[in-house]
């Protein structure tokens, strides 16, 4: 099977090279024969996916059949590894994850090439560009990071096993989601570059890529949240985001993609910011590649990073080539990207998008800067320094608060310019709600002057309430107009409102999700921690909770040995729950990890960690955390995903566009649109 896998990868490289070279030649020529060549290139692109899928299947087959003659399988699997985690072997090491990248890229390319009739010529350009990216990954897989490399000498009877931290159900989902996001950014990139190269007229390419971008953004969002969820429930330090360089690497393309999703509306609606949008999508793709480089080059120390290897240089060269190609075609065809309109007022929807973009990019720069600053500092001063969470929080929180303010105010601004009367009418209620929330929190005991983090928390919660009130008022305003015209009830009117412009109102749900998640983040300021060695009957007090150690026990199976404590929890003196914090020792890899026990409620989590063991007394050491509002962070994510799904549904008007509509019937719609606000 390893030979089959290697052969499949070689075939895939040949096919993608054909797709790239022949596809590019055919696009340069304008004759009927070139159309046939274009078609062969497209089919070669489709066949590339089949070849890469065969290679991935071969690697999984080797994992399931414990073929330890394959070095990768030996280092990342073992005989007793549970079956679901055998799938995770594919992305748990460097070579496998690169194959997974290539597989997903092939899958995206497969769908794109099958749907080529949307726009045959533009798709042909995008197909060639995707083939270029695919060639890079297949070169790596064939020559630098071979997943089917064979073991030399005697083959050990069992493998080293999968990293214990990856032996968790979420790890079967989190990396694929993240990779779907990273790799998916190749598609809008390919369309944007293709449209620029061929000087594609109009904004149709944006309509074609809109759903691609939203879907890949959603995958990236899910990947980031699942990673946080995994960190919270597996790493056992009581938090879900630690500003680790690899976490940062996933956030960078997310920030630029979020900026693109907003600013692209200005190009669709007003023909503005074309240069900006093209570079945003270029930057998003390059940051995705940069993230992959960060995990593999070893330039930054991270708990996530793979071992340092020479393929970091490959990524740097690839990044330089991408940048050079983008810059060349931008300089060559920049006249094609002239804005059709200009910003007329600073108080307008356009300017809110512009400032939203500036803030998102500033945040992206701050994260990138912080990630690379240790290298710069060491280079200049000779001293190695740390850029940890205090830096990122200090720099990003004020930017995030400004973004939240824009999220609350932007939807209330009209396109082109907003009158003072409109400002007063729309802003009074959200502003009063925000101020009232701040006041209530102060009366409730929050002290913003005690610590700047309390001030930030107060502002974050107040602004989140402002965002929520803005969204509710937008829904109600639109629904009232529809109810006035159709006589439907409020719920039905809200549904109708969403069906007419799913992206706008789905987007509002996304904003609501962000507001809920921010409230969850704001709660982390009030986290409490206690640690104690606990023998039978010992108790520990934290917040409203009393923890009593009932007993502690040990267990053993083929994969790992474990030690756990049984803790009875009382809240305000009443029995609440029994919790089982655990520590596991994996036999194959000779590594240990902790499994926290978490009791969640609407307002706070009680989070217990089996932190260690006192060999003298034989007692476990238990760390207890009380983390307020963590559930809100996860709920915000679910709402955010729901909002994205709602935004992906086609508009009702678009569904009916093939049917002739009497002119009279459209008249009230126009007036309704004007009453309920202008577009997105």
């Amino acid at each position: 099977m390893p030979y089959f896998g290697s052969f499949a990868l070689l075939c895939a490289l040949a096919l993608s090279l054909y797709c790239l070279v022949v596809g590019a030649i055919s696009l340069l020529r304008e004759n009927p024969a070139s159309q046939r060549l274009t078609e062969t290139a497209r089919r070669a692109g489709i066949a590339t996916f089949i070849a890469v899928a065969a290679a991935a299947a071969a690697l999984l087959w080797s994992a399931f059949h414990d073929d330890f003659s394959v070095a990768y399988i030996l280092h990342h699997s073992n005989r007793d590894l549970p079956i679901p985690y055998k799938f995770a072997v594919l992305w748990s090491g460097q070579e496998g994850s690169l194959l997974f990248w290539s597989l997903l890229l092939g899958a995206y390319g497969f769908v794109l090439r099958l749907r080529h009739k949307v726009d045959i010529r533009l798709t042909a350009y995008a197909s060639v560009i995707l083939a270029g990216v695919q060639v890079f990954f297949l070169l790596l897989l064939n020559f630098a990071a071979k997943p089917f490399a064979l073991m030399q000498g005697e083959i050990p009877p069992d493998g080293n096993g999968l990293n214990p931290l990856l032996q968790y159900p979420e790890m079967v989902i989190h990396p694929p989601m993240l990779y779907l996001g990273y790799v998916g950014m190749s598609v809008p990139f390919a369309f944007a570059l293709g449209a620029l190269i061929m000087r594609y007229p109009g904004e149709k390419w944006i309509h074609i890529t809109r759903r691609w971008t939203m879907v890949t953004w959603m995958f990236l969002t899910c990947g980031i949240f699942l990673g946080s969820h995994w960190a919270y429930y597996v790493l056992g330090w009581g938090g879900y985001w630690g500003w680790d360089p690899v976490e940062n690497a996933s956030l960078l393309p997310w920030l630029t993609a979020t900026a693109f999703l907003h600013s692209v509306m200005m190009q669709e609606k007003r023909g503005m910011m074309k240069v900006w949008n093209v570079w945003l999508i270029f930057a998003t793709f390059m940051l995705s590649i940069l993230g992959t480089f960060l995990t593999r080059s070893g330039v930054i120390s991270s708990v996530h990073a793979f071992a340092q290897s020479s393929i970091g240089d490959w990524f740097l060269i690839f990044l330089a080539i991408i940048f050079a190609v983008c810059l060349f075609f931008f300089v060559k065809n920049r006249s094609h990207l002239k804005s059709e309109h200009r910003l007329e007022s600073l108080v307008s929807r356009e300017s809110s998008f512009l400032f939203n973009n500036l803030l998102l990019l500033a945040s992206c720069f701050a994260v990138l800067w912080g990630t690379f600053f240790p290298i710069l500092s060491e280079w200049v001063t000779g001293n190695k320094i740390t850029v940890g969470s205090p830096f990122y929080n200090h720099v990003n929180v004020p930017i995030a608060l400004l973004l939240l303010l824009l999220t609350a105010t932007g939807p209330l601004l009209a396109w082109r310019r907003t009158s003072f009367a409109s400002l007063r009418r729309n802003f009074t209620i959200p502003t009063v709600a925000a101020v009232a929330t701040a006041g209530a929190l102060m009366i409730g005991g929050m002290k913003p002057r005690q610590d700047v983090s309390y001030f930030y928390s107060l502002m974050a919660i107040s602004l989140s309430v402002m965002v929520t009130v803005t969204i509710v008022s937008e829904f109600l305003r639109g629904a009232r107009v529809i109810r006035g015209h159709t006589g439907r009830n409020l719920f039905s009117s809200v549904l109708q409102l969403w069906r007419r412009n799913t992206r706008r109102y789905g987007g509002y749900i996304v904003h609501f999700g962000v507001a809920v998640a921010v409230i969850g983040l704001a709660g982390s300021v009030f986290n409490q921690t206690q640690e104690k060695e606990m023998g039978n009957g010992d108790s520990l007090q934290i917040g409203k909770y009393t923890l009593v150690c009932r007993s502690y026990t040990q267990d053993d199976n083929a994969n790992f040995g474990s030690a756990s404590a049984i803790i009875d929890v009382f809240k305000n003196g009443h029995p609440l729950v029994t919790m089982y914090p655990e520590r596991r020792f994996f036999k194959s890899s000779q590594q240990a990890n902790t499994l926290p026990s978490v009791h969640s409620s609407l307002f706070e989590d009680l989070y217990l960690v089996y932190a260690g063991h006192n060999d003298t007394t034989d007692h476990p050491i238990i760390t207890a955390h009380v983390n307020p509002l963590v559930g809100w962070f996860w709920a915000g994510w679910l709402i955010l995903v729901l909002g994205t799904l709602l935004a992906l549904v086609p508009n009702e008007a678009a569904v009916k566009v093939t049917q002739p509509v009497p002119a009279r019937a459209t008249a009230p719609e126009v007036s309704m649109a004007q009453t309920t606000g202008a577009g997105d």
Binding site: W237, L359, W415, G439, K447, G478, N501
Partner: protein
């Protein structure tokens, strides 16, 4: 003339009401901000351990959040921190002692002195430069507006403008 005056006074009234609203909001925000001011010196250990120092075992985690199984540094460092705070050393002294023993890598964030000051300045400098650049572009656009539909020479584009209006006002 009377109508104009009435409209003028109505507008002035609106502005006055708006100004008063702004004043009320400002006063409320100001008082909300300054309510509950106070210091909590007992939190020094947590502040230093959660915000200023990291564990130097290589995990890059904040000192009081390091839960590395078998970590040989974090326990020792915590004890040193407890001892320093109990001795009554100032924050600066505690941090200096840690830097002397473990090197500048022990600090969780760059210092605000020397070259490392740039780490803190750059993100905000870039943000301000971005705002300034955007502001300059907007001002230059305002001084040189594009042709409007009513401008001579733009009449032939009526259909295009109608399409634009439809696009921009769709619900």
């Amino acid at each position: 003339m009377t109508l104009k005056t009435n409209m003028g006074s109505a507008k002035a009234g609106e502005l006055l009401t708006a100004t008063r609203w702004m004043q009320v909001i400002a006063v409320v925000l100001f008082s909300v901000f300054f309510l509950g001011a106070g210091d909590d010196f007992e939190a020094r250990f947590n502040t230093l351990g959660h915000k200023k120092l990291i564990c130097v075992c290589g995990c890059n985690q904040i000192l009081l959040e390091c839960n590395h199984v078998g970590c040989t540094y974090s326990d020792r460092m915590r004890n040193e921190l407890i001892a320093a705070v109990q001795r009554g050393d100032s924050d600066d002294l505690v941090l200096q002692a840690f830097v002397q023993k473990y090197g500048p890598i022990v600090l969780a964030a760059p210092t605000t002195t020397g070259f490392n000051r740039i780490a803190w300045i750059m993100p905000f400098a870039v943000l301000l430069a971005g705002f300034a650049f955007a502001g300059m572009i907007v001002l230059s656009w305002k001084n040189k507006p594009l042709l409007s539909p009513g401008t001579p020479g733009a009449g032939g584009q009526l259909e295009e403008f109608k399409e634009q209006a439809r696009r921009e006002t769709e619900l």
